[in-house]
């Protein structure tokens, strides 16, 4: 059982057996290298295995989608990355992709088609929502999160960029928790401050850091868990909570981690 839960295969391994996964899990750079977000990657793998999903990862063959390069203005670098990734994925005949990173989600879904990469792309919040709706994930009543206050921070690249507002909230609702909204949520949700390649430089001069402003807003709701669905939001919100010295009281967790935890995975 334990082995099944931790099973991980690369597309190359499957291909050697003449197989193609039903769905490719695009891990992303943060999911591969960022110590904090690696835990989200692992949580999602456990969920996918628990429901018996036919999936695989590219492993060492995956490279940056080119999102930060494009948003910072370096179109050449972006297109080099994109074309290479598209060649790899088309070579394996990939049709469907799930990712835990809204930036990878957005760029593969909306910007790869113009360069010859056409896939059905979903974000992990949407996949988990589907799994819950189809009864593949059954949440126990009165779980560990029952009555706990959770607030969800909208990722710009999921929300405004792609109108995904409902899926993450529906997933959280199954936790039987008390879901509270921040004043600025959904279409008016405040950015964590990391988008548009801001993750990779210091902010310009100003009165305050954006993530601190957002963390304050989240803390004000009284929630003890801030749910996120993006690796950059994860870093920014965690740092923001630390800046307010609340890291012992307020947790920042990804949706996949919360579901995996509630499922005892």
């Amino acid at each position: 059982m334990m082995e099944e839960r931790n099973k991980i295969q690369t597309v190359a391994e499957l291909s050697a057996k003449g197989k193609t996964p039903e769905i490719l899990f695009w891990v992303g750079c943060a999911g591969s290298f960022d110590d904090r977000y690696k835990r989200v990657t692992v949580a999602l793998v456990k969920i996918l295995n628990a429901v018996g999903m036919d999936f695989a990862v590219l492993g060492p063959e995956e490279t940056c989608t080119g999102d930060p390069a494009r948003r910072a203005g370096n179109e050449f670098l972006f297109q080099m990355q994109a074309m290479n990734n598209i060649q790899v994925m088309n070579g394996y005949n990939i049709k469907k992709i799930v990712t835990a990173c809204p930036h990878c989600f957005n760029i593969i879904k909306n910007e790869y088609p113009e360069l010859g990469g056409n896939y059905e792309v979903i974000h992990h919040s949407q996949l988990i929502q589907e799994l819950i709706n189809s009864g593949k994930i059954v949440m126990n009543e009165g779980g560990a999160f029952k009555g706990r206050k959770i607030t969800y921070h909208d990722s710009c690249y999921l929300g405004r960029a792609n109108d995904v507002y409902v899926a993450p909230r529906e997933v959280l609702q199954t936790l039987d928790a008390d879901l509270v909204e921040m004043k600025r949520c959904r279409t008016t949700g405040l950015c964590c401050g990391a988008g548009g390649a801001q993750m990779f430089k210091e902010p310009e001069k100003g009165k305050k850091d954006i993530n601190v402003e957002r963390a304050e807003e989240a803390i004000e709701t009284g929630a003890k868990t801030i749910a996120v669905a993006c690796p950059f939001c994860m870093t920014m919100m965690s740092d923001g909570v630390k800046a307010k010295n609340k890291e012992t009281e307020v947790m920042v967790k990804d949706l996949a981690e919360l579901i995996a935890e509630a499922q005892g995975l």
Partner: protein, 439 residues
Amino acid sequence: MEYLSQIAFLATLLVAGYFLSKRILFIRDSIRLGKPMETSGSTGDRWKNVFLIAFGQKKMFKRFIPAIFHFFIYFGFLVINLEVLEFVIDGLAGTHRIFAPYLGSVYSLAISFFELLALLVLIACVIFLIRRNFLKVPRFWSAEMTKWPRLDGNLILVIEIMLMAAILKMNAADQILQARGEHYTATGTLYISSLLIPLFENFSTELLILVERIGWWFHIIGILGFSIYITYSKHLHIFMAFPNTYFAKLEPKGHINNMPVVTREVKSMLGLPAEQTEQPPSVPGRFGAKDINDLSRHHLMAAYACTECGRCTSECPANLTGKKLSPRKIMMDTRDRMEEVNRNLRKGNKGLDDGKSLLGDYVTKEEINACTSCNACVEACPVMINPLEIILEMRRYVAMEESGSPASWNSMFQNIETSFAPWKFAPSDRFNWANELKK
């Protein structure tokens, strides 16, 4: 002598028409400084945006209080302008209230309804003046709202108040004259303006005729003058909002426009076959945007559609936390620079080659670097302006033409090039996360 007022009216119309058409041509030429537009997607979806968002004011209603008062002004102006049709016919034909005898009681009802709208417009304008000047709603006082933009906003409200007051005064005087048997066409009771009758009742008949005529002339000259004024003003949104919503992007907001020029080069570098349709451009353009001619005509048109309401800036995370970036300023700067270039060209000067450019002289790198591309400004704009696209075009110029991106972005670029990740990790370690599962 008999035709004097008709001749004067015709002359007024012609003079106004002359100046207005000159301004329209100026605006057209300003927009044409940009690159030709490419539209994709369904025409039906574009018209849907025009009807829902421009006509239907859908996005205005995200903030209810200003939306409701704005709706009074918007609807009032749409409807009251029907009355201007009668003004024009009367003015040219030398008639007085030409529609009244034909429409009878419908006329009194219609004019009373227009008067109600005029009153609502008036109230809304007063409330907006209070919001701007006494309540000092912050978005009307931020850094780019210097003297002229603030004055422009107030002037429009004051002019609208005066125009509406002129109609009501004119109608009040008219009704007294009708009662005095001065051969004025019967209109029946006009419900709003009749409330003003006590103010004028003691006037002599001559004075009342003068009040009525002044009201009439003031309103029509006012409207004509106003239509010329708005071509200089932020108020031009009353027209440009419509084409702007039509041409607004239909793709999800997260989508960034592709650069086919780069696609062609990258494909040839990778030895991939380029598509037939991807012909090299006749004029080698710049990568990204340094000046207004690098932007598309739609970006320039959007600058004319901006009414400086500042909803974008009030939701911009960078601006909220004290950074210099303001999406509204990006649009205002684009308009200022485009008009500057066009004015220069008309004077026979060099236009674009005046030693200035949009990026550098109007917008600074500090501003564009602060953008998180979160789309809050795009979402907030009631007329679907997209300041983010302009910001990204300028970033492309800085990155690809100047190699002038911030040092940490340059290192990020290098990491992606050499390690295929924005951070400096060995590519061979990419799959190490899976070791966690093997434990």
